[in-house]
């Protein structure tokens, strides 16, 4: 539904965005791929030499790599699980009539605005710290031994922190979706003799499907690259217990100054992310078309 003139204009209008993103994707990625084939350490400038696929071999056989893959998956899936299930339950609760809805909503959304460095610092020191943290105080008050979360359950602690940041996002989207649910559909289902649980399963949940998809897509984009929370709380440790792929590459290249190896890790991360992306895009494409 358009003329040649407007199509020509459209191409012109879209080209800055496309060209910029293309450059943003291609130029650094090409450089990364090139570096990944080099023996290249920032501590030894001028010593670069061709390494072929050696960096990949080292990176992929490094036990840290498998640990990082596992941690990345646990982190993403764990947070997704907590936030979607928690989000649905919380949204159902907040959708009921009660006094002070506006204020509660403000309270619930707040963590989303907190920058990752702040939330990580606050959680690490003021809550999870085994000596002075609030949880330690609570444990002592109950006569229990304070638990050192970040040393003994580093990944779980990080999952908890990240989930706290993203729960508001999921809740708000799902709440908005719930509020758009046609009341008459619910009434009809009730007239048809559906129990509250059946109504939830047959009407509410399918209605939420689209929004859950959005929640998963957006969160995955951000969760795959969780970085500040790990940097601030555990530095990936102890050992590699809380190192995800992003952090591993960061550690290789900026902490060990091994650009070649770091780049190889970056390429691997890009490839893995693309696999996830293809899978997600399929799902989204199907779900958003409706």
């Amino acid at each position: 539904m358009a003329t040649l003139n407007s199509r020509r204009a459209a191409r012109l209008m879209i080209s800055p965005a496309v060209l910029l993103l293309l450059a943003w994707m291609v130029v650094p990625l090409a450089m990364t791929i090139y570096f990944s084939m080099l023996r290249y350490n920032l501590l030894m400038p001028g010593m670069e030499s061709w390494a072929g696929f050696d960096n990949y071999r080292w990176f992929l056989t490094d036990p840290a790599f498998f640990a990082a893959i596992g941690n990345t998956m646990k982190l993403v899936l764990g947070v997704l699980f907590i936030t979607t299930v928690g989000g649905v339950l919380l949204a159902l609760l907040l959708d009921q009539p009660f006094w002070g809805q506006g204020i509660v909503r403000v309270l619930v959304i707040a963590p989303f605005f907190v920058m990752p460095t702040v939330s990580a610092l606050v959680w690490k020191n003021m809550f999870l710290n085994p000596v002075n943290g609030l949880f330690a105080h609570a444990a002592k008050a109950l006569g229990l031994q304070p638990y050192d979360f970040l040393s003994h359950a580093p990944l779980a602690s990080i999952i908890g922190i990240v989930a706290w940041q993203w729960l508001p996002f999921a809740t708000l989207i799902l709440l908005t979706a719930l509020q758009s649910l046609d009341r008459e559909q619910m009434d009809a289902a009730e007239m048809d003799g559906a129990s509250p649980l059946q109504r939830f399963g047959y009407i509410t949940l399918p209605h939420l499907g689209r929004s859950i998809t959005v929640v998963i897509l957006i969160q995955t984009i951000f969760l795959l690259s969780v970085f500040a929370e790990i940097l601030v709380t555990t530095n990936g440790g102890p050992g590699t217990a809380s190192t995800n792929l992003t952090y591993l590459v960061y550690a290789q290249s900026l902490l060990s100054f091994d650009v070649g190896m770091g780049s190889a890790g970056g390429v691997v991360a890009v490839i893995l992310a693309n696999i996830v992306a293809i899978f997600l895009m399929r799902m989204i494409g199907k779900n958003l078309e409706r």
Partner: protein, 332 residues
């Protein structure tokens, strides 16, 4: 001025030919109505004239100038859209003044033109409201106001009344006709409603599957439709079509007779039973099951005292029978 000439105009979307090839001349000052069922290509044709779509072939001339590849902005036409397409963030005044602003007219000149248009359209009291605060009819008037201030070569209307309720439709129809009387500017009007076409047009163009079936004055089309499609489309209630033995008696593949051209008589050629009678007060519409022919719609006077199940005898008025050949074309 406002003469529009279409020569050999074609339009296809991908594989689909919406308009195979079409020639048409719209004379200066004419009120031309494109009418046809939905999907017949009438809106596409209007958008081709407007420049909102490219023609796939052929040429479009406006006042003797080839406008085929001109963008809509340069064609000097104004359009009233089905959804009115008012700018919701602007007051009525700003909406009407928008084309003047785009033409670079000074604010003072534009203001006086807007006032004048508002007076013609009875919008004086609403100039500072937003479109959202207006009724459907008022919005329609604003859309027309926005079109007339430009003093275009021609007005294009794309089913402008289809979002109004029945009563308002009738009065707006009359307003648009009066506007045409006053402005004497060419108007091209698209509708699927043959009543609008019959009441407003100087010239009706009946379209079907992208082809022009017939062009003529409303009465021409009513009196001598060139084929069964036009015969069935123009006139309300619809023409009755009779096939078979009865048609063969008149040397035709098909006979057409309008409900208002069938009389209820003492002793006519057609005998039947009334299946349904609708009394509208001024008229009575009868559905009659005629032996050997089938169901015929008959329009009687308001006082016909007949009811379902009554036996009647019918006769077509002399000279009002339309005969059609096997190909659907009218036989003379």
């Amino acid at each position: 001025m406002g003469q529009i000439t279409l020569r050999n105009v074609k339009k296809s979307f991908g594989e689909v030919d919406v308009i195979p090839s079409l020639d048409l001349t719209i004379e200066n000052g004419e009120f031309v109505v494109f009418v046809g069922p939905s999907g017949c290509g009438k809106s596409t044709l209007l958008r081709l004239i407007a420049g909102l779509e490219d023609a796939s072939g052929g040429s479009i001339e406006i006042d003797g100038v080839d406008a085929t590849s001109l963008p809509p902005t340069k064609r000097g036409l104004a359009m009233v859209f089905q959804s009115y397409a008012l700018y919701p963030h602007m007051s009525v005044r700003k909406n009407i003044a928008f084309p003047l602003k785009m033409a670079g007219m000074s604010a003072a000149d534009a203001a006086s033109k807007v006032e004048a248009a508002a007076k013609v359209l009875n919008l004086g009291d609403y100039l500072d409201r937003r479109p959202g605060q207006l009724s459907g009819g008022q919005r329609q008037r604003v859309a027309i106001g926005r079109a007339i201030v430009r003093e275009p070569a021609a007005f294009l209307f794309d089913e402008p009344l289809s979002n109004l309720d029945a009563a308002l439709r009738v009065s707006m129809r009359q307003e648009i006709s009066e506007l045409h009387q006053t402005l004497k500017t060419t108007m091209v009007y698209v509708t699927h409603d043959q009543v609008e076409a019959m009441t407003m047009a100087d010239k009706i163009v009946v379209l079907h599957a992208g082809r022009i079936e017939q062009v003529g004055s409303p009465l021409d089309l009513y009196r001598s439709p060139v084929n069964t499609f036009v015969a069935g489309f123009i006139g309300s209630p619809k023409m009755n079509f009779i096939e078979g033995a009865e048609a063969e008696k008149h040397n035709a593949a098909m006979l057409g007779v309008r409900p208002e051209h069938i009389d209820i008589v003492e002793d006519g050629p057609w005998q039947g039973t009334i299946g349904l009678s609708e009394h509208l007060g001024s008229d009575t519409f009868l559905k009659v099951l005629v032996d050997g022919i089938g169901t015929l719609n008959v329009r009687g006077t308001g006082e016909v005292g007949l009811h379902t199940g009554d036996k009647v005898s019918l006769a077509p008025q002399p000279g009002k029978l339309h005969r059609f050949g096997k190909d659907g074309k009218a036989l003379s």
